[in-house]
């Protein structure tokens, strides 16, 4: 034991001290879990607001593979070697409900930009989708929950895009930091472009650039761990190529929420949007992410109310639940609207004022529009 040991131990104990509100922590964790499950990572990201660069004047044409569906179905099979592998897109997306197209906006396939107008540029032709979440802001993300199908048996994948390689890698590295297991990498080719495959015992990820304006990261979560290294590598390669084959970049779809704020702080602007749809077309969650002038974010999420209201305060004659740690919730017409304070540090008054000014509307892309 060194002379420093007691000094360090005492300093740490003193620093860690202080009350912890467990109920609030549990509630916040569950909320965070729901958020992760529905993959609104873009909307909840606390990183600095980034407006997608609009300076790329040249229209970049998409490689032919993405310009339309091929005539024949292509089902990738697991590769058996570590040599580069290619993938072709899957057939036309099945006719299932999804957000409406935005006329007049260029898709990624036509030189459009990720996050442009906070609309949605990523889509999937996966026939086994159960639920899809899209998010658009600093970049874009799409999260898919699906019925797993042999041979790869994965029930969830995410595709995230950023306008630069650095931003994509920062996001991918952060994602990987909480994934378990020894990581491996391999080189692939996806639609003729170089790609990097990474995998662990229960996940696989792909980094590539399918069009010049988008650097993508796709990550697949498997149901079971694969202890055999060779089989794990084959499964990883097959699954990410299948996901890459499902990907569609030829449409721009609308990210909308069904509420607007009749009052907000004067320096508030819309920074991101996210929406979650079931395969049958039910919208189960929609989130608008806002930023104040200094860049501090906060969110308002609309979900169908599943629990009875827990009103503990009133503002302007309206009942709400206020939670000093996380924010506030208000209930309207069978929906609940949760204001998440995040790093904005907003005090109680403007939170309650904004939330009680909320009104239900037809789908809108700008909940701050007066």
């Amino acid at each position: 034991m060194s002379d420093l040991d007691p000094i360090i131990a005492t300093a740490l104990r003193a620093r860690a001290d202080g009350d912890v509100r467990i109920d609030s922590l549990l509630e916040g964790a569950r909320r965070s879990g729901a958020r992760h499950r529905r993959n609104r990572r873009l909307a909840v990201s606390a990183s600095a607001a980034v407006v997608v660069a609009v300076l790329l004047a040249a229209v970049v044409l998409l490689p032919r593979q993405f310009s339309g569906p091929p005539a024949n179905t292509h089902t990738p099979t697991p590769a058996t070697t570590a040599s580069p592998t290619t993938v072709a897109p899957s057939p036309t997306p099945p006719e299932r409900p999804r957000p409406p197209e935005v006329p007049g906006m260029r898709p990624l396939a036509g030189g459009g930009q990720l996050g442009e107008g906070r609309q949605l540029h990523l889509d999937t032709a996966d026939p086994d989708v159960i639920e899809t979440s899209w998010g658009s802001g600093e970049g874009e993300e799409m999260s898919v929950t699906r019925n797993p199908r042999t041979p790869y048996l994965y029930e969830h994948y995410e595709v995230a895009g950023r306008p630069t390689e650095g931003a994509r890698d920062a996001m991918a590295d952060a994602d990987r930091a909480h994934r378990e297991g020894t990581e491996h990498t391999d080189d692939l080719a996806v639609t003729g472009r170089p790609a990097t495959l990474e995998w662990g015992p229960d996940w696989a990820a792909l980094r590539w650039r399918p069009v010049d304006t988008a650097w993508l990261y796709a990550v697949v979560s498997f149901q079971e761990r694969e202890p055999d290294a060779t089989k794990a590598a084959e499964r990883a390669r097959g699954a990410v190529l299948e996901v890459a084959g499902f990907l569609r970049l030829d449409k721009v779809r609308q990210c909308a929420v069904e509420f607007h704020l009749t009052w907000s702080l004067s320096d508030t602007h819309l920074a991101s949007c996210a929406t979650t749809w079931t395969a049958t077309g039910k919208v189960i969650m929609a989130t608008a992410g806002f930023r104040l002038a200094g860049g501090s974010p906060f969110l308002i999420t609309d979900t169908v109310a599943t629990d009875p209201p827990h009103v503990n305060t009133t503002y302007d004659g309206k009942g709400l639940e206020y939670d000093p740690t996380n924010g506030a919730t208000i209930w309207l017409d069978g929906h609940q609207y949760t204001f998440e304070r995040r790093q904005s540090g907003l005090p109680e008054e403007p939170i309650l004022h904004m939330l009680t000014s909320l009104e239900r509307t037809a789908p809108t892309t700008d909940p701050l529009a007066r």
Binding site: S2, L4, D5, I7, I8, A9, T10, A11, L12, R13, A14, R15, A16, D17, G18, V20, I22, L25, L26, G28, A29, R30, R31, S32, G33, A34, R35, H36, R37, A46, S47, A48, A170, D173, A174, A177, H178, T325, R342, Q343
Partner: protein, 171 residues
């Protein structure tokens, strides 16, 4: 298998205290724990079957902390506005022991994240090098190296601090 709610009720407080030492800002520490528990919640069925759930969650916490540091600007991560941070403690006012404690904390907080995590896990969580290696995903040898470097830095800086304090007192 422990349920998610039971785990949070049982271990949540300890996780927040651990996070306060990793993140420094107390509000961000709670955010970090919520974020990590949220990720754990999604995969709880699998995590709760792990041999050592606590080690698993602590590993998520430390990793997520390191990734937060990568992603965020220094102002979001490193600034602690609570009392005592950055200001040098005045021995005349609060006593030599408290001054030493504050100075030690200040210096620990300035260590690189992995070195700081190593010290926190060793001196606060009271874990041995093998257990720390499990959390940081490195060998016990690497843990010892990280700890040695951290302690050498602390020792050197504490000596400098003491010299500065003596100078001030003699002035």
């Amino acid at each position: 298998m422990i349920s998610f709610d039971d785990y949070v009720r049982l271990r949540g407080e300890r996780l927040v205290r651990l996070a306060r030492l990793l993140v420094r800002d107390r509000h961000l520490a709670e955010d970090l724990v919520q974020d990590v528990l949220g990720r754990a919640f999604v995969r709880w069925e699998r995590i709760s079957r792990a041999e050592d759930v606590d080690t698993y969650v602590k590993r998520m916490l430390v990793n997520q902390h390191i990734s937060w540091r990568r992603k965020r600007s220094s102002s979001e991560v490193a600034v602690d506005t609570s009392a005592g941070h950055l200001e040098r403690a005045d021995p005349a006012d609060i006593g030599a022991e408290a001054a030493e404690r504050d100075a030690a904390w200040q210096l620990i907080a300035e260590l690189p994240p992995k070195q700081r995590a190593t010290l926190v896990l060793r001196y606060y969580e009271d874990l041995d090098d093998a257990a720390i290696g499990e959390i940081l995903r490195c060998s016990p040898v690497t843990v010892r190296t990280q700890a040695m470097r951290a302690l050498a830095t602390l020792r050197r800086r504490l000596v400098d601090e003491a010299a500065l304090t003596r100078k001030d007192v003699n002035r």
